[in-house]
């Protein structure tokens, strides 16, 4: 059964690594729904968060291949239920729409969104949440006309009580020490 999985990859911060990671998806004709990369809690180690809609067996195999990439330290996969995750969306609307009625203001309050910048011409609204929530706000705001809209890739954190990052780094240190 196809469902959403969140793949987390810890890697060295090297040029070309993004390509080396994504070709593993391309080769299996697996679509990436969203992808976020940035530095992790450990300096020099990047963290990829990749969302796919796939069968678990295929996800498991691609994660196995990702771990083979020399610069990848560790790759995991989780279901949505196993993680707390967020996306961020920005909406640009004409400032006039806020003057014309209080409906936009009410939408912003109801959605728990916030206003980032107001100029004479436009206002930028920010909302974090799941895709359905940011989409819902987009559709609501769009009744008044949204000039520009952008949504980020997903960031996610496990529900595990233990931080896996330190656990696997310890495990790796042990393995590396055995090589000597």
């Amino acid at each position: 059964m196809r469902q959403e999985f969140i793949i987390t990859i810890y890697s060295e911060n090297h040029i070309g690594l993004l390509n080396r990671i994504t070709i593993n998806f391309t080769r299996r004709k697996m679509n990436i729904e969203s992808l976020t990369v940035s530095e992790s809690a450990i300096k020099g180690i990047s963290k990829f968060t990749i969302v796919v809609r796939e069968e678990e067996d295929r996800v498991k195999k691609v994660v196995g291949q990702l771990e083979k990439v020399v610069e990848v330290l560790k790759a995991f996969y989780h279901t949505n239920d196993e993680m707390v995750f967020q996306e961020i969306a920005l909406y640009k609307v004409q400032t006039d729409t806020l003057y014309d009625s209080d409906q936009v203001e009410r939408l912003v309050r109801k959605a728990g969104a916030r206003i980032l910048e107001i100029t004479r011409e436009y206002t930028v609204i920010e909302k974090t949440g799941h895709k359905e929530e940011t989409q819902e706000l987009f559709e609501a705001l769009n009744q008044f006309g949204v000039l520009q809209f952008i949504r980020s890739g997903r960031v996610a954190i496990t529900r595990d009580p233990i931080e896996r990052l330190s656990e696997f780094l310890m495990e790796r240190d042990n393995l590396l020490n055995q090589i000597d």
Partner: protein, 565 residues
């Protein structure tokens, strides 16, 4: 090590010498000229083989790596030089062959400007290298080369590529070299888990009809002695994959032959009767498994494997023993009970008898008029006392040679397995000859594959490499024709070749040779080839429409193997 100030190019050569490189296969060009200039001063320490095409260089490096177990090294220039390596790199990737490929690249300020002979070789080679890296600063050269050799040769081996910008080749650096021993993000092999070994041993001791399948992992891990000791202690029959050939002597009583589409009858059919499969250093390729959903349904599966991604990739395992096959087999030997499976082995012997009557005798001792590939292979193997290195191309001759050539020592089989690269044999044979200078190298090639890389005859002659080339000529792309006959109603769509005079071509390159068309000339012909001091081309004109059997038809189960059409 003392630090000296040298150019990046010289650093490349010194780094290779530090890694013990004695042979480089390559082809110069604009963007790698500084490295070739540095190489000019080191002709005593390292021999460079100038091939006639970069594809020849990379396949030669593969052949060298296969017989030595060390990384093969090749050089090419940027752009077309680098792209000509791609087929060989892909071949090495799928067959786990250690290669270090060094390509020149345009000077770093020109990167991304569509400069003359610029191609994004790092991008192009990314899916088919274990690791690759572009060097734009000479300071990076020693460490990158150290890392390249470490990655290529450790764990599950594979090809790596270093792309060196021309300006970095000219730059001066303070050179010192340190071999790479570990990389933070890379675990080449896992420690063998004793608990898994115990679980595997328990299954092995219980099994009534166990079958061991071994692949190239045994050769890579140098686990031949452990494999032999394990099967001898347990009495378990063992079958090899195409790349596992030569990891055990052919005539060992527990060697029950080859798996796969054109493998032996016994190991294929018995796979589905076995109650335990012990897979060692093999990856359940589709040519081995046939229809996966019907594969080894009665068996528990034990998989000894160095690459975690291979576990459960195709066949679900009951016990996976991760790690180096030499270590895991040694631990298994200590944990299993002595045993024998004589009645079960007899079933394989019975299968052999059927196969011999229906297929083998007709192949290797035919009584019909036309020559067969099988008899040429049998005689060559016998006359070299089963001691030669076998190099094969891809197609019918590959399958026939793999079936009938016999082995007495490991690292004696050089073939393109996973990628199935036609044109592989001739360049791979010259690499194998350089890697095994004292051994006889017998290269079987078809008329199709011969014409893909025949320019390397020139390299063989120039370097006086005594390679024995046996061209099995049926004037067809034989394997495709066989499939057309069996599965496409004999519609021979573009498989018949109008061939040149091969012997004259050989002579043009300065290679001795002759053609054999009759059975009574064959033995003497092969003897003449083997006795000749130097390279030799023996063309054996075989039956046009012979087929390779047995055969597991594409998509069928291994138990549906057919012995005749």
């Amino acid at each position: 090590m003392a630090i000296k100030r040298i150019t990046g190019s010289k650093a490349v050569i010194l780094s290779l010498l530090e890694e013990g490189v004695d042979t480089i296969f390559g082809y110069p060009g604009g963007a790698i000229m500084p490295i070739y200039d540095a190489l000019y001063d080191y002709d005593k320490q390292v021999s460079h083989i100038l091939t006639r095409h970069e594809q020849g260089a990379v396949h030669a490096a593969e052949g060298y790596a296969k017989v030595t177990g060390k990384a093969g090294v090749c050089f090419a220039t940027s752009g077309p030089g680098a792209t000509n390596l791609i087929t060989g790199i892909a071949d090495a990737m799928i067959d786990s062959i250690p290669l270090v490929c060094i390509t020149g690249q345009v000077a770093s300020p020109l990167l991304g400007t569509d400069a003359f002979q610029e191609s994004d070789v790092v991008g192009i080679s990314m899916p088919i290298t274990k690791w690759n890296y572009q060097i734009t600063n000479a300071d990076e050269i020693p460490d990158a080369i150290a890392k390249a050799f470490y990655i290529a040769q450790s764990g599950r081996p594979g090809p790596v590529l270093l792309d060196i910008a021309k300006d970095a080749q000219f730059q001066e650096i303070d050179f010192s070299y340190k071999k790479c021993k570990k990389i933070r993000s890379y675990i080449p092999e896992h420690q063998v888990d004793p608990f898994k070994v115990k679980a595997a041993a328990w299954l092995i001791d219980q099994a009534k009809k166990p079958l061991l399948l071994f692949g190239q992992g045994v050769i890579i891990a140098q686990a031949e002695a452990e494999l032999k000791a394990f099967v001898e202690k347990t009495g378990i029959p063992a079958a090899w994959t195409l790349l596992g050939l030569s990891a055990m002597p052919t005539d060992h009583p527990l060697n029950v032959g080859m798996l796969g589409m054109h493998g032996n009858y016994g190991p294929n059919i018995k796979t589905n009767e076995a109650d335990l499969i012990i897979a060692v250093g093999m990856r359940f390729d589709d040519r081995v498994t046939g229809k996966v959903s019907e594969y080894a349904k009665n068996a528990k599966i034990i998989h000894l494997e160095v690459d975690p991604a291979e576990i459960d990739k195709i066949i679900k395992t009951d016990v996976a023993v991760l790690g180096n096959a030499k270590k895991s087999l040694a631990m298994l030997i200590d944990n299993v009970k002595e045993n024998n499976h004589d009645a079960w082995i007899q079933e394989f012997r019975d299968c052999d008898q059927i196969e011999r009557e229906k297929v083998i005798d007709k192949d290797i001792r035919p009584d019909k008029v036309g020559l067969t590939m099988g008899e040429a292979v049998r005689i060559t193997s016998e006359k070299t006392k089963h001691n030669a290195v076998l190099v094969t191309d891809v197609g019918q001759q590959q399958m026939i040679a793999s079936r009938y050539f016999k082995f007495t020592q490991s690292k004696s089989n050089v073939t393109s397995g996973g990628l199935g690269t036609m044109g592989y044999a001739i360049p791979a044979a010259m690499g194998a000859q350089l890697g095994a200078k004292d051994r006889t190298v017998c290269c079987f090639v078809g008329d199709g594959g011969f014409q893909m890389t025949l320019q390397e005859l020139g390299t063989i002659v120039q370097n006086k490499l005594p390679v024995k080339i046996i061209l099995l000529n049926n004037n067809f792309l034989g394997m495709v024709r066989q499939w057309q006959q069996l599965f496409f109603e004999k519609r021979y769509s573009f498989t018949e070749l109008q061939n040149p005079d091969f012997i004259m071509i050989g002579k043009g390159f300065g290679m001795e040779g002759h053609q054999v068309t009759k059975r009574e000339e064959l033995e003497d012909g092969i003897q003449r080839m083997l006795d000749h001091d130097g390279p030799y081309l023996l063309e054996v004109v075989v039956e046009k429409e012979d087929n390779v059997f047995p055969m597991v038809p594409s998509g069928a189960s291994v138990s549906d193997i057919i012995l005749e059409a």
